[in-house]
């Protein structure tokens, strides 16, 4: 029986952590994820968890602590944002290549610079090639639920990769929402114990982790990592199915909202999905066949499944909440357009880079994007494919 509560996204993640009671929490604060180690420090002080709470001097050290702890056989967690994640950059790759299932609560904040504390996805998108699994949440409930599923995916023997559980800074991390929590007992039962096959401590055989990997061997290990990332797709769906059986809430690689007959659709990540859903209801009432695909799992990227979800749509706007500075669109656009390349009749597609560094995006903004898609369908003219939206300008912009 679920427990009705009202919590911020940070508090929801901290609650999940308390319920799971991990072995090690390596903590260094950074806005807007600071509350997670803050709440957790209170749980430690109150004796509500048995976790070894390690306060370190930097995020490079917090991730290094997690790597050491995970290699020792511990369930290790941390939380960070923005520049903190960037400071981990070197060791993120070490965690992944050493195949250590660490759970990182990423509260998305724009990556400095210019320095700014508000939300976009540039921090975790910057780490998208680091070999970490990445799961994103629309709201506090999803952040909590994703966290409960994280370790079973990450620790699975066919995966053994670290995982980021992402939510939008401030928008979800600090907004208090209604939430359904599960009991401590049910959470512990669902998540289970971590029993790695190999570990530095408590095993009857020696172990070396992360040795120098010379040219004749290193590529094979990277192929193993790539295979593990592919294997994760099945595990993610299996864990989601068990989550639904256990707690009744359904998850997949992405959520399709009013896609059954959609002619125009958005593909986006995170809290903007709520805004888009409100807009879709408004447009549907006017007879516009608008739909939404909200990406939940970005790594591994659900390429074939997304193409299937978009194959009958006439025009798609990918909404990138980060600038990839590729000169031709953001990271979600690159993946989505690549996914649709193999379709016989792919939808017309544009990239709308929006919401950078906390720039607001309201229902009427989303409506402008849908109206633009309708115009593309009507005229057959896609126009510029790489558009910024929400910035002030002294010339007429596309949106």
């Amino acid at each position: 029986m679920s427990i009705r509560e009202r919590l911020s996204g940070n508090e929801a993640i901290a609650t999940a952590m308390r319920q799971i009671d991990p072995d090690v929490f390596a903590a260094f604060p950074i806005t807007p994820s600071t509350e997670i180690p803050q709440y957790f420090a209170q749980y430690v002080a109150d004796g509500k968890v048995g976790t070894e709470y390690v306060t370190v001097e930097s995020e490079h050290s917090s991730m290094s602590t997690c790597i050491g702890a995970a290699a020792a056989g511990a369930r290790a967690v941390t939380a960070t944002s923005s520049a903190g994640l960037a400071f981990m950059y070197e060791v993120l790759y070490v965690a992944a290549s050493s195949r250590l299932p660490i759970t990182l609560a990423c509260v998305n904040r724009t990556l400095t610079g210019p320095i700014n504390i508000n939300n976009d996805h540039s921090d975790s998108m910057g780490a998208r090639d680091a070999g970490w699994l990445q799961i994103y949440a629309e709201n506090n409930q999803e952040a909590y639920d994703n966290y409960l599923q994280a370790m079973r995916i990450s620790e699975h023997p066919s995966v053994r990769l670290p995982i980021m559980i992402c939510q939008d800074g401030f928008i979800t991390s600090h907004a208090v929402e209604n939430i359904l929590l599960e009991s401590d007992e049910d959470v512990k039962k669902f998540v289970g114990e971590y029993r790695p096959e190999h570990a530095l401590l408590g095993r009857d055989h020696p172990l070396a982790v992360g040795p120098y990997d010379s040219c004749p061997y290193c590529m094979e290990h990277k192929v193993q990592q790539a295979e593990a990332m592919k294997n994760a797709k099945k595990v993610i769906l299996d864990v989601a199915a068990d989550f639904e059986r256990t707690f009744g809430r359904k998850y997949g690689f992405f959520e399709e909202y009013r896609m059954e007959d959609a002619e125009v659709a958005l593909v986006l990540i995170g809290s903007t999905a709520g805004t888009a859903k409100a807009c879709i209801e408004k447009l549907r009432a006017q007879g516009v066949k608008a739909g939404l695909v909200k990406i939940r799992v970005f790594r591994p990227f659900p390429m074939e499944e997304l193409a299937q979800a978009l194959k009958n749509v006439k025009a798609v706007a990918v909404m990138d909440k980060s600038e990839g500075y590729s000169g031709c669109g953001g990271p979600l656009f690159a993946e989505t357009r690549s996914a649709c390349y193999d379709l016989d009749n792919p939808p017309k597609m544009i990239d709308v880079v929006y919401g950078l560094a906390g720039r607001d995006c309201a229902v009427e903004d989303i409506e402008k994007v849908y109206r633009h898609l309708l115009k593309i369908v009507e005229t057959g003219d896609v126009g510029p494919r790489y558009i910024h939206f929400g910035q002030r300008s002294n010339q007429k912009e596309v949106l």
Partner: protein, 103 residues
């Protein structure tokens, strides 16, 4: 996932038959890998001049001066990198450094 032994992994091993992340499940496996191949200077030991003071052996950073029954024997050239520390610390000039000749 398994306990693949280091001696069963070599430069012909397919990725499926290697350990995840290059993990090693036993000790002393560096003996299986010749790391002295890139040596450019080669220490040469002169047993006539050597007084067996054993100063060189503990200074060697790569454990490449084997000691047997209380006496040093010739260099382990499979692992010696030619750093020259042994030559530097030898009080009796029993070690000389020579240019390595690669075949």
């Amino acid at each position: 996932m398994s306990y693949i032994k280091a001696e069963n992994i070599n430069e012909q091993s397919p990725w499926q038959e290697m350990t995840p992340g290059g993990e090693i499940y036993e000790g002393g496996t560096s003996r299986l890998t010749k790391t002295g191949e890139w040596r450019s200077n080669r220490p040469v030991w002169d047993p006539q001049k050597c007084r067996q003071c054993l100063l060189c052996a503990p200074f060697c950073p790569d454990s490449s001066i084997p000691v047997k029954a209380g006496k040093r024997v010739d260099f382990d050239y499979d692992h010696c990198k030619g750093c020259g520390i042994c030559w530097k610390v030898c009080p009796f000039e029993a070690i000389t450094m020579e240019q390595e000749v690669h075949q």
